[in-house]
Amino acid sequence: MAEVTSEQQGQRKLPKGLAWKAGTAGAAGTLLLFMLLPIFALVATLSWAQFRAGITHPSVMPALRLSMTTTVISLAIVVALGTPLAWLISRREGRVIRFIETVVRLPAVLPPAVAGVALLLAFGRKGLLGGWLEHIGLSIPFTTTAVVMAEVFVSAPYFLQAAISAFRSIDESQLTVAQTLGASPARVFFRVALPLAGPGIIAGAAMSWARALGEFGATLMFAGNLQGRTQTLTLAVYSTFQSDMRAAQALSLVLVAVAFTLLYALTLTTGRGPEARR
């Protein structure tokens, strides 16, 4: 039998390696192209003049203002109330905690329309708390408050998930040491846990804010689409789309730019890990 030279072995391996490389590159390229193309279309099919005309559409400024105000308020609520909740969940184990964790993650996977129906059934005029709310003179649906509530409901899970795993990733002995050094539970939380979980919490807050900014279905069903009051940027895209395609496109570009900037900044800050913070 002829001896197999290393050259022959190399020749046999080469096509195998090539097939793998071509296969992965093909698959990766196809999906990447599919994902880039619509974004490219948004940018490439709009002239500068059309963009300027689009963003001066009368529904743009009120929608932008409303989106900014409501998402900042909803983010503040999510962070202020979500951080203690994430901390409590991360410090405990057991069936009840697993159940609570599942419940707080649920809105992230619910179809937004379902979230809208659920919010109406809870806080709507004929909802669970409707009678009581009416009694104290409050009617939530179709108000700016409803926009904020819808945003909190759908975006909180993104924050909670990130904050819970950030708290869980803290080395337990760092918390124990802080305790042995005489730190009260509050001091352990503020001086040790919070700074250590900081990057994860910030990433969660950014994702949560982006989700709130893009919120559509629950807002439409629970808060409606009233210009200046409940019409957010995404709802304005939907409305202008029916009358003025270019205005919808210009608005979409604004949203894409905001989302991209946010995600890219996040990748830069969280992609480096603790080593880079030296």
Partner: protein, 250 residues
């Protein structure tokens, strides 16, 4: 003196320990999973025993009968965990100052700097802890534990996170230091070299129970179990090092 008489159950481990740690060093040795760290945690109050007593001098830290369970933050025990658990978001100075209370900022700073100088690490004060070597990290962790003027000191596997070269140096440093501190000190280890270097009494923990307490010599002469026999056999019998040789390392 720390007097420990506790029962605790953590997972499959059943801890039933009676142990007194006097002023000076008591080294708790034992195989992996024997309950060494759990024992330390039950003294710290992180693991709540199901029954028993833990007292420090005349002060009860835990007493199931009298329903006493002093919170970890009020026990005043210096603790150095296995990987030192320094706070990476703080400088060395802030790490050590973390537990120092009740003085002006200036006084706190002076107290910490004094302590750092005493341990030969004052030049590291402004450094972030991620930039420290293993040996330096251990000194910072020790300084942080000592900064609260603890009534007792607990060290969990103090050499485990070090490479072999650093280990030799740190052992000698710790041996001299712990003797000088003079408060009850419990060191958990599974390494006979630590026992040799640190000196003091040795308590052997196996499957949650103390099976033998004594000096290394006593353990050598009359090992109570197979583990003790193998453990002491692993040590080369060396004459004790001259004190000035040890101090040259510090």
């Amino acid at each position: 003196m720390i007097a420990i008489d506790v029962k605790a159950e953590v997972g499959a481990l059943k801890l039933r320990v009676q142990l007194s740690a006097y002023d000076g060093t008591t080294i708790v040795v034992g195989p992996n999973g024997a309950g060494k760290s759990t024992l330390l945690k039950s003294v710290l109050g992180v693991v709540k025993p199901s029954a028993g007593n833990v007292s420090l001098g005349k002060r009860a830290l835990y007493c199931s009968e009298q329903r006493i369970n002093v919170a970890t933050e009020d026990r005043r025990l210096g603790y150095v965990p296995q990987c030192y658990a320094l706070f990476p978001h703080m400088t060395v100075l802030d790490n050590v100052a973390f537990g120092v209370r009740g003085r002006s900022k200036q006084e706190r700073h002076e107290h910490v700097m004094e302590l750092l100088a005493d341990l030969g690490i004052d030049h590291l004060a402004k450094r972030k802890t991620l930039r420290l070597s293993g040996g330096e990290s251990q000194r910072v962790a020790l300084a942080r534990a000592l900064a609260i003027k603890p009534h007792a000191l607990l060290l969990d596997e103090p050499m485990a996170a070090l490479d072999a070269g650093a280990r030799r140096k740190v052992r000698r440093f710790l041996g001299v230091r712990l003797r000088a501190i003079g408060i009850p000190t419990i060191v958990v280890s599974h390494d006979i070299d630590d026992v040799e270097a640190l000196g003091g009494r040795v308590a052997v923990l196996e499957a949650g129970r103390i099976v033998q307490v004594g000096s290394l010599e006593e353990l050598r002469r009359k090992p109570a179990t197979e583990f003790v026999r193998e453990f002491v056999a692993a040590a080369p019998v060396e004459p004790p090092r001259a004190v000035n040789e040890i101090q040259a390392w510090v």
